[in-house]
């Protein structure tokens, strides 16, 4: 019986906590509705498509291939990224470059984004700083798998 009474007080404590959350949050919601700016918000939600959080500088987003000054890809088709890739989503075909300093360039460079796990190993492996994941693009979902196979034209920028 005494135990039941104890539980009853615990029940009341629980509802006091939730109602405190309710009233405090409602207070800030109403302040916002009236138009008074406060430091604290009624909810911690970020309303995603309209509000966006700042992306950290080391965040790994969609890949890009960097260019030389003349617009050609910086990549020398050394195949290091293709080798290190754990999900084997990179495919490179090398071709001979006229410039003896460069020697090789990728004639095709394909990343299957649908398979990519965004580990960033390709970026770390690259000796030429040719591939980066700093586009800050996060929304590249698609309804078709073919659209997720990115080739040189879409990667180079």
């Amino acid at each position: 019986m005494l135990k039941a009474l104890e539980y009853f007080f615990e029940l009341i404590r629980g509802i006091v906590i939730t109602s405190r959350h309710f009233f405090v949050n409602m207070f800030f919601h109403i302040l916002k509705l009236v138009g008074i700016k406060t430091k604290r918000k009624g909810a911690i939600t970020t309303q995603y498509p309209e509000e966006r959080k700042e992306i950290a500088s080391r965040h790994r987003s969609l890949h890009r291939l960097t260019k030389r000054e003349d617009g050609k890809p910086r990549c020398v088709a050394c195949m290091l990224c293709m080798t290190v890739c754990p999900s084997e989503c990179i495919y490179i075909e090398a071709a001979e470059d006229a410039d003896p300093e460069i020697q090789k360039y990728p004639s095709t460079f394909v990343i299957d984004i649908a398979r990519c796990c965004f580990c960033g190993f390709c970026v770390e492996a690259c000796p030429e700083d040719a591939i980066r994941m700093d586009t800050a693009e996060l929304e590249f979902g698609s309804r078709y798998r073919e659209e997720l196979v990115y080739d040189l034209d879409r990667l180079l920028r």
């Binding site: 039941a4 509802i15 919601h29 909810a43």
Partner: protein, 356 residues
């Protein structure tokens, strides 16, 4: 003319009931969000107009209407289709006995703001709420699935055990109040206790209020007592339902919340009574008077009733988002070993106090 008035009353009351039900689904989502520091459903829009998600219930309803209405091939078709309507019907007609306000006088005619002023109003509501068990049993059994059967058996056991506590706790109230007629119960609560306190049920029977609240929460089958539904382990009596038939069960749930709120308001918080307001305006116990015309008095009464009902809906949603679920044996223990003895003690105590 009498028939027409009754028809208008029925239409108005049902509209009120169903609209409140619809918006209770919205309120539940919003309130749970605010309790958990979220925002909640706010995306439903018409022509880009959002208004904090007020169109959400209509979007939900449209979605539910256009979903496939699947009847499992192993179910008993007729009963499977009948069950949600049984559930819905018996809750929907309980609203008939709830008094929304005192009499409204228009053109020499006195209209009671209550569809059906039966002299056993309280028993009528309890009886119809109990008949809702049939919906649960039929739906669980006719689905032909053992999980729904387990759910419906749990539901029947829970509702029957808490029905006893509910009825016994109300005996204390019935002893204090002069009648079972709900309009008379509310009229009685308009008097004053010690000259300043409104004679509401909560002040006369505070103990009964707690027992009744617990038993009524169990009757609504929501989270602290949601064993018949068991959302997390999918042993619900409506696990085999889809589309609008599932929606009817869902609406039944919310309508039960409103009916329980109406009962709590009517029995314990003075129904449509505003403190210190008589038929001609306010008479304050410290000697002031504020006379009001008849129309405004009736408006205040209906407003007071609505506010009280909405408060109790709010409280029930808050309770639903606060407590974890009971274990089954704890549930039965609380019903049979705690609430029923307490309500019996309450009856004896009330009798002793009344005889002194």
């Amino acid at each position: 003319m009498e028939t027409l008035i009754i028809l208008i009353k029925i239409v108005c009351t049902l509209t009120w009931f169903l609209l409140l039900t619809l918006y209770l689904t919205w309120a539940e989502r919003k309130e749970s969000a605010v309790v958990q520091d979220r925002i909640g459903a706010n995306r439903a829009s018409i022509l880009g107009l959002r208004i904090i998600g007020l169109f959400q219930p209509f979007a939900d309803a449209i979605k539910m209407v256009f979903k496939e209405d699947f009847t499992p091939p192993f179910s008993k078709k007729f009963l499977h289709n009948l069950a949600p309507f049984v559930s819905f019907f018996f809750v929907a007609i309980t609203i008939a006995a709830v008094p929304f306000g005192d009499v409204l006088r228009i053109g020499g005619r006195e209209i009671k703001l209550q569809i059906m002023d039966v002299n056993v109003g309280l028993l009528y509501i309890l009886a119809m709420l109990s008949l809702g068990i049939y919906g649960i049993i039929i739906s669980g059994w006719s689905s032909g699935s053992r999980y729904t059967l387990i759910g419906s058996l749990r539901g029947a056991a829970q509702l029957i055990s808490y029905e006893v506590a509910l009825g016994l706790s109300l005996i204390g109230v019935i002893m204090v109040f002069p009648s079972l007629r709900l309009s008379e119960i509310v009229n009685f609560q308009g008097q004053l206790l010690f000259g300043f306190l409104p004679k509401w049920g909560i002040f006369l029977q505070p103990f009964t209020f707690i027992i009744f609240l617990f038993a009524a929460l169990a009757e609504t089958k929501r989270v602290p007592f949601d064993l018949p539904e068991g959302e997390s382990e999918i042993i619900g009596f409506f696990a085999e339902y889809s589309g609008l038939k599932w929606g009817l069960f869902m609406m039944t749930d919310f309508m039960e919340i409103i009916i329980v709120s109406c009962l709590l308001t009517t029995l314990f918080f003075g129904g449509w009574q505003v403190p210190w307001m008589a038929a001609d305006g306010f008479h304050f116990p410290w000697g002031g008077e504020w006379l009001l015309p008849h129309g405004i008095v009736v408006f205040f009464q209906v407003l007071a009733f609505n506010l009280k009902v909405i408060f109790f809906c709010w409280l029930q949603i808050l309770i639903r988002w606060t407590y974890p679920r009971f274990r089954y044996d704890q549930l039965m223990d609380m019903g049979w070993k705690l609430l029923i003895p307490l309500s019996l003690v309450n009856i004896v105590g009330t009798g002793i106090i009344m005889s002194i």
